[in-house]
């Protein structure tokens, strides 16, 4: 089967199933095999059950996958801001030693605004042992507008923030770009299904390739399509190398 010329580090992925549409081949083994066939060598993932049902089960299922494929998976930890502070802290303390990246805080599915108190509590915990935080954003969703992240990015300069889906829609992309231009600790995420012609190149031109991380959002999205957007005309080999590998290797401290 085909492979890219890059050793891809995937900073935004999941495992599991979803209620709204069928996710096929979602067994851990199948996701690993598919991702490897695309040239992905490391994948930071969290279980989808975290976002719609329970973060206790979710983080445990993520941990199980990590244990089975320790050479491939990086632990993406999830915390739910609507839980009590004690519950959040206990879960944080239980999983933090294994967490590579907080992937992802999900205001839309947890139905909790990014600017809400629960997220501040979570980020106060994370700042004690700062690791990158991927936050789902979508300008069309009232809880996860990318502009709401700016306050947090400013407040926690020691935490690298990845603006998940880079705002997700026209209007949101522009806001995400402006934030990433402004703050050293802010990054764009390449995972979004609306692959507008010229958008990836615009992002690179505006924020530089060093500030974009590759995300497949597998198995939510098709990983090959997410890779394909980096092959649009005008994107150089050098910039692909940074986005596919180098930036995440540095941020996630992968040797």
């Amino acid at each position: 089967m085909s492979k890219t010329d890059y050793e891809i580090i995937d900073a935004h992925a999941h495992v599991g199933s979803y209620f709204q549409f069928p996710i096929r081949h979602n067994e851990i083994k199948e996701i690993v095999e598919t991702a490897r066939s695309y040239g992905i060598i490391k994948m930071c993932a969290s279980h989808l059950i975290n976002f719609v049902y329970d973060t206790g089960d979710g983080n445990q299922l993520t941990q199980d996958a990590m244990t089975e494929y320790a050479d491939f998976f990086l632990f993406g930890g999830v915390l739910d801001p609507s839980e009590s502070e004690i519950e959040i802290e206990n879960k944080y303390l239980a999983i933090n030693p294994n967490v590579c990246m907080w992937n992802e805080l999900h205001p839309a599915l947890h139905q909790y605004p990014i600017s809400g108190r629960g997220y501040k509590f979570i980020l106060d915990l994370i700042r004690k042992d700062p690791k990158p935080v991927l936050v789902h954003t979508d300008e069309s969703d009232k809880f996860s507008k990318p502009g709401q992240m700016e306050e947090l990015i400013k407040r926690y300069p020691e935490i690298p923030f990845i603006i998940g889906h880079s705002g997700n829609v026209i209007g949101g992309f522009e806001i995400a770009i402006e934030i990433v231009k402004k703050y050293e600790n802010a990054f764009l995420d390449s995972a979004f299904s609306r692959n507008y012609l010229g958008l990836m190149k615009r992002m690179i031109d505006q924020v530089s390739a060093e500030k974009i991380l590759f995300g497949s959002d597998m198995p939510f999205l098709n990983g090959a399509a997410e890779i394909g957007k980096l092959y649009e005309s005008g994107i150089t080999d050098n910039n692909r190398q940074k986005i596919f590998h180098d930036n995440s290797a540095e941020l996630l401290r992968i040797k």
């Binding site: 692959n195 012609l197 098709n222 394909g228 957007k229």
Partner: protein
Amino acid sequence: MSNIKSDLTFFDCNVFIGRHQNPYIDSPFNISILEDTMIASGLSGGLIYHSASFLYDASYGNKILLDEAKGKTEFKLVWIALPEYCTPETNAENFISQLKKNKISAVKIFPRYHNFNVVTGSLDLLFNFLSEEKIPLLADQEEISWEEIVYILNRYNEMPFLLQNTGYRMERYIIPFFDKYKNFYLDISRYQAHGGIEYLCGQFGSDRILFGSGMPVFSAEPIMMMINYADISLKEKQNISSNNIIRLLGNE
């Protein structure tokens, strides 16, 4: 020269020219820009309509499509149809003869944007002709209801119906169409489902799955890569990337 290494030929079933609402490239997207973009992406050709037919007036846009695409053999042309072109008293015969005369390869409809409903029978005369001639009818998923699609597929089973711009979350709607209607075809320009192509090929074969980009709004490379990397046979990939649309347009 495409950045994507592939032995496949890609013919795009979902392209338009003219003004558009993609803020990341210049507007209008005229035919020479389309040609340059296609060369850069490694596409051999495309099935195209003019956005003026959609945004302003169908007959105006259909005419300027002919003018702009004149002599461009890599493109097959799509005209937009409206109910008022298809009444017995007025224009049905005229519209149909114009389709024939200008070698129009497919017809597209926008029922929501153009304010009509297919189930009223307002396009039946046209659909009869398209069925007889086996000319494909195209519609975007957000522009037509599921009930209208059922109406079309039930009555016109000789007319290929190509559903375009269908999102990856819509699979539970589209599977029954694949299952029940042999004249149902899917453009995969927005169908970025994990394992989706593999599933459709396994269940229904590769003959009714078509490569499309959605240019100039969307980029071709993600869908090209999705086909390139799919865990299906080379023959199935060739069907999806170009053979199916070429067969549908009667150019095999």
